[in-house]
Amino acid sequence: MSDYKAVVIGGSAGSFSLMLKMLAGIKSDFKLPIILCMHRLKHVRSGIAESMQIKSKLPIIEPMDKQRIEPGAVYLAPANYHMFIELDGTVSLSTEEMNFFCRPSIDYTLSSCAAAYREKLVGIILTGANADGAKGLKDIADKKGYTIVQDPATAEVDTMPKSALAVMTPNEVLKPEGIIAFLNNL
C-alpha cells in the first residue's frame, strides 16, 4: 500500500494529448486521487472531461465547490476557476485574479495540495508554454513531497518543465512512459 495520499499533475500546451495517453495507461485499480490542473480555454466548459473519460479507466470529475476528494478518481480543474484543495480534503473553487494570465492556475492547485498532503503527495509537471507550476512544484518539494518533472526533451513545449527545473531539483525527471510506470507502481 502506498504511503502517498494523492497525486497532483499540472500541464499546459501539449499536455492534453499527453494526459489522454497517461490516463489510458494508469491501471483501473489505482487507489489514489489524481488532481489535475491544465490550462484550458475558459469558455469551453465541456468536452475535455468527456474526452478524458473515454480513455481513462478511472472516473473523471470536474468537481463542484466544496466537493470531497475521494480515492481512485481524477479531479480536473474546471474551466475559468482556480482549484484549491483544503486541509479537510475538499475542493475550493475560486474566481480570484489570474496567475500567469491563467485560471485555473497550476501554481495555486499544486501549492494548496502541498499544504494539504505535505510529504504524502506526488507532484508532477508536464509540458507547457509558461512558468506556471514551477513555484507550486517547489512548494511540494519544500514539504518533502515527491516531485517529478517531464523530461523537457520529450515535452511538446519545454518552457514549463524547464521553469520547474530552474527553481528546484525534482526527485525524478522522467519521460511520459516512465511517469506512467511510476504511477502504476505506487
Binding site: H43, P78, E86, S92, E96
Partner: protein
C-alpha cells in the same frame, strides 16, 4: 507579509465589526489569500497599521472594496446569459436582485441582456458593502484586452442585430460603460445578508458563495430562499452547490447554474 493564524482570525473579527460583513465565516484559505493581497497591495507591514486603517471609515471601505473578487470579463458563461434571456421573455417587468456587486461586469452584462430581451421596465436592486465599488461604476474602465474577451463572449450570445458598441464608449484608456444604462438600478450600500427580505423575479448571485464556509453558504441560501417565490429564477455559479434545499426550487439548467421555483403542487 506573513500573517499568523491567530492574527488572521483576529483581523476577521475586527473587519466584521468595522465593515458589517461576516468575514469570520469566509473560507479561511480564501480570507487569508485576500488579506495577504491587501497587505501587499497597500504596503502594510504591521497588523496594527491595518487596524488603524479599519478605524477610518474611508480606509475601511477601501478594504471592503479590495475584499471583493472583481469579475474579469462580461458575459462569463455565455450560455447561461443566452438561457436567462429566454427565461426573461416571460417577465416584462421583472424585479431583479444582485446581492453582490464587484466591478460591475456582471451588472452590465445583465443590463445588456435586458435590452436584448426588450425589457425596459425592470427594477434592479444591487447590494454592495463597499461605497467605493458602487461609486466606481460611473467610471469603470475596461482594458482593451478585457474588451476582446467581452466581444468574444458577446458574440456567443448569438444576437445578430446587436453590437457591444451599443453599450460602451471608447476612451483613451480602453472602454467605458454607458452609465445611462444604470437608470433603473437602485444601489444599497450594505451587505446583502443585512437586507430586509423582499420578493424578486430573478436573483443573480454567482460565484460569491464559493468564498464562504459551508455554514455561511447554507445560511445565505436560506436567506435567498426568503426572496424566492413562484417562478423566481435563481442563478448561481456553474460550479456552486445549493447546500440547503429550497422547497420546489428545481433545476432549469444545472450546467449553467440556473434554477426556477416551480409551482407548488
Amino acid at each position: 507579509m506573513f500573517l499568523a493564524i491567530n492574527d488572521i482570525k483576529e483581523i476577521a473579527v475586527k473587519m466584521t465589526e468595522a465593515i458589517g460583513v461576516e468575514y469570520t465565516s469566509y473560507k479561511f484559505s480564501f480570507f487569508r489569500r485576500r488579506l495577504s493581497k491587501i497587505f501587499d497591495d497597500l504596503h502594510i507591514n504591521k497588523v496594527q497599521d491595518f487596524y488603524t486603517m479599519l478605524a477610518d471609515k474611508k480606509s475601511a471601505d477601501n478594504i471592503a472594496y479590495r475584499m471583493l473578487v472583481a469579475d474579469t470579463e462580461m458575459f462569463r458563461d455565455p450560455s447561461m446569459w443566452r438561457h436567462l434571456r429566454k427565461l426573461l421573455t416571460d417577465k416584462p417587468e421583472p424585479k431583479i436582485w444582485l446581492p453582490v456587486l464587484t466591478n460591475g461586469y456582471e451588472l452590465f452584462s445583465l443590463l445588456v441582456i435586458l435590452k436584448q430581451a426588450n425589457i425596459a421596465n425592470a427594477r434592479i436592486v444591487v447590494n454592495c458593502e463597499s461605497k467605493q465599488a458602487i461609486e466606481g461604476l460611473q467610471s469603470v474602465i475596461i482594458p482593451a484586452k478585457v474588451q476582446e474577451v467581452n466581444i468574444s463572449n458577446f458574440e456567443r450570445l448569438e444576437v445578430t442585430n446587436d453590437s457591444i458598441d451599443n453599450y460602451v464608449v471608447s476612451t483613451t484608456d480602453g472602454y467605458a460603460f454607458k452609465t445611462d444604462m444604470l437608470a433603473n438600478v437602485e444601489f444599497r450600500n450594505r451587505w446583502f445578508m443585512n437586507e430586509a427580505a423582499d420578493k424578486y423575479d430573478l436573483i443573480i448571485a454567482r460565484n460569491a458563495m464559493i468564498n464562504y464556509d459551508s455554514q455561511l453558504q447554507e445560511r445565505v441560501i436560506k436567506r435567498l430562499s426568503e426572496s424566492i417565490e413562484r417562478n423566481t429564477i435563481l442563478c448561481i455559479g456553474v460550479k456552486e452547490q445549493l447546500l440547503y434545499k429550497i422547497p420546489n426550487l428545481n433545476t432549469k439548467n444545472a450546467a449553467d447554474g440556473l434554477y426556477v421555483k416551480e409551482l407548488i403542487v
